[in-house]
Symmetry: C3
Subunit: 345 residues, 3 copies
């Protein structure tokens, strides 16, 4: 069960054009394209006639023609032409999903279209602003999206899983604090007077110790913005001065495709050395490598979850408070939705 | 559930010889071979001892010896030798299926052997007569055989799926008429005064417009003979004169292997340019390419059927009358069989 | 359901070292390693925190550190360190399995550790004694371990499946006798005055006829020792004189990994031509080839078992008495275990 009345990031905006693009989102097959005027469209990807995938058809102007028997749909999902007959039966339509381009991502709303309000899309302006450069990519992970969110909401795993790039021995030693602000979850960790991690050393040239921060901000369903950075120890008090260090926003957008497939759109936004292609390249490669380490672990973990009894004994740790709050809020939203209550203010 | 008391085409006759040939038909594992005298034999492909596949054994004269523990079966499926013991237990036998060579195909009867009457095999003489040349081949498709029959009984899809070979923009514009004759279904479409499709142009050299026909004749379970051809417009009235054009019989024999695997034996029989190898080659390659387009669509469609609710809303079109009649008659035969009623006259 | 209170051979001893080694045994994920002092350890391979596979972690001295969030376990499976917190919750532990190195194999006891007594490991000294040379290897077979045991307890299949190596036309002609001795099963077959099989001819140079024996000794759960050999006919009475022929012990250790995956550790121990590397090589390659023939048949058989009705009619043969006794004793042990009765004396 997934939240329905919410925006899901479903692709990079530039991926959607005049070629039909197929992707499952929240257990529903969807086909994406743009109109001749460039407006994005998302339709249910099962022809109402014989369930053929519309993504195997073609665009005729702004109509999507099924590649099997030629039914044509307009952008609202209404069937507007049936070859060989004039009458179009009642109910000849597929669902059309509200979509929006925002922050260079495409967002889709699987629920009640009347409730879709683009202003509910969270702020990810770092991905689309002057003064920021943001290499990124797409990954699919063979696990449930909640398992992936557990990963993102507790960065103590950097020490053990990502020692080659962004992990350092000390991350897990420093405590983090979790705050719930309405239906946001914020997890903050400061690491004081320690060496910079390999990536920051590579791109920032830090020789001396730094004060380093990770400030995670989650909004439903799976938008995780991590404010990361470091500044020389002593450059400010009680922590290093952000303006004297480097900072970035790590965007991690996690969307359920199916119960066991998760779409992972990531972007690493920085505001320094904007024109240095080699820094961009180093960041892209390090982050990509890091996320493949996560993918490998998450898929192995999902297999061991699926082959275990759901009642098996497990324990929770202090570092689980962020992940737990996220799961709790998702449960709350699902319950609210099941009871037909309005969206949260 | 599949019809049992009926002939299923299960291979090309030439494929069955003194090598053991394994194929699932109607959810049953079967092994096929020929006796030394050339008579075809089909046995249940699970040894009665430990369920090993008999097709991994060998022929000793006309006996099939299991490759695991050496039990030997005669052509009636009776176990006639057990190594290391003289007594053969009661019930030591596997099912033997009636088989028949006809029209260069091998046919198998999964049901009551006493009811198997070779004269019930439908007429496909074009595949095995002087004056006709018939290249063909075998395909397996990952879908239920009814989904494949839907495809064959409504050729309006040629316009959308097969534009490179036998499709033309106008096929779906012309209406077809469906007739039920006893337990046959006949779907006829005439397309008047239009260009010939690419394949007919290539092999028939038509420059001017033609009158083109598609006359589909289905008999249970999955034998679809399509009389196709075209003649110059004006060569006859109210339609072109068949004798002044070219014609062919497209044989499409569709047999369930399992619920999700379909055997597709096809042959394209023509009565012109018999000795022109290049025409044979062009036809073979065009038809093969065409059927791979079907395979690709049908497997994608089956996946979307299987991941959808069976109760999901779908619509029927005018072009579905052929497919619908076929499904209706198959239902009727299954019901008759379940009630133990005799075969249709 | 598998027997719990018993030793299962789970790897070659030399395979376990300071690298983490992952293997499912009896439907449980296990991780194996050795302490710095060389003692073997087996732990449950699911972290008690988030179920990550511990085998993706690393050894820190004799502690196993989870590669996801850094929990550390000692060799008893107790969690002894949790990064970022001092308190260790009650129940923070994974199961630790008794293990033992014996006869160059590693053995694991999935059941009650208090009952694990290394003296219960069966005698396989041929694999680890002066005067014997024993090439061997590991195979996994996609079938239930009982299906594999059926294979090993009835060697009449050599005639049909292994004609290129150890099979001869006459094996299945000679009767075997089955004896149950406590909870051992012994199947003996003597084949008198016949040519030696290909492998014995290759390594023993027998030109004249031999008396050949196969004496199978099974102990639970899946330890099959086959005393095989041959001696010139007439060299003794009533059978050939063992001291004038060649003999070997074929060790076949069969362990359930899951319901449909079986671990097969094999070794072929001989006491002649100890230094002749070419004999070792010939034996290794012939036996390996032989067991791949078994694997191919067993996996095909398992598929036909799984697609058949469990109630389908099958027959039993005289040669099945060995396999049947084995299944009967395993049932008896399972029943005893389910009722909490003590191990057999």
């Amino acid at each position: 069960v997934f939240i329905r009345n919410i925006w899901y990031p479903c692709a990079w905006s530039h991926e959607i054009g005049r070629s039909l693009f197929e992707r499952w989102i929240c257990n529903e097959p969807m086909v994406f394209f743009r109109t001749e005027a460039g407006k994005p469209v998302a339709l249910y990807n099962r022809c109402v006639h014989r369930r053929a995938p519309l993504s195997k058809g073609q665009l005729i102007g702004d109509r999507l023609q099924c590649g099997y028997h030629g039914l044509e749909y307009d952008c609202s999902g209404k069937c507007v032409k049936i070859p060989g007959q004039d009458a179009i039966p009642a109910g000849a339509a597929v669902k059309s999903y509200p979509v929006a381009d925002k922050w260079r991502f495409l967002w889709v709303w699987p629920g009640d279209p009347d409730k879709a309000d683009a202003s509910l899309i969270p702020d990810l302006h770092w991905n689309d602003s002057p003064g920021w450069v943001a290499p990124g990519d797409t990954l699919t992970i063979g696990c449930n999206y909640l398992v992936d969110l557990d990963n993102l909401m507790d960065l103590s795993h950097l020490t053990y899983l990502h020692g080659r790039t962004i992990g350092t021995p000390y991350v897990s030693e420093f405590p983090s604090t979790t705050q719930v602000i309405g239906e946001r979850v914020n997890v903050t960790r400061w690491m004081i007077d320690r060496p910079a991690p390999p990536l920051f050393q590579r791109v920032g040239g830090f020789r001396q110790n730094v004060d380093r921060w990770q400030i995670i901000d989650w909004t439903a369903p799976g938008n995780v913005v991590i404010d990361v950075g470091c500044a020389p120890t002593g450059s400010g008090a009680p922590q290093g001065d952000r303006s004297k260090g480097i900072e970035a926003r790590s965007l991690n957008l996690v969307t359920p495709m199916t119960e066991r497939q998760t779409l992972y759109l990531w972007s690493y936004c920085r505001n320094y050395k904007l024109d240095d292609e080699s820094v961009t390249k180093t960041i892209y490669e390090d982050v990509k490598r890091t996320f493949f380490e996560d993918k490998d672990m998450l898929e192995a973990q999902q297999h061991l979850i699926d082959t275990d009894s759901p009642q098996a004994h497990t324990i929770s740790l202090r570092v689980d408070s962020g992940p737990m709050q996220v799961r709790r809020i998702i449960e709350r939203i699902l319950k609210r939705e099941a009871q037909g209550e309005p969206l949260a203010a």
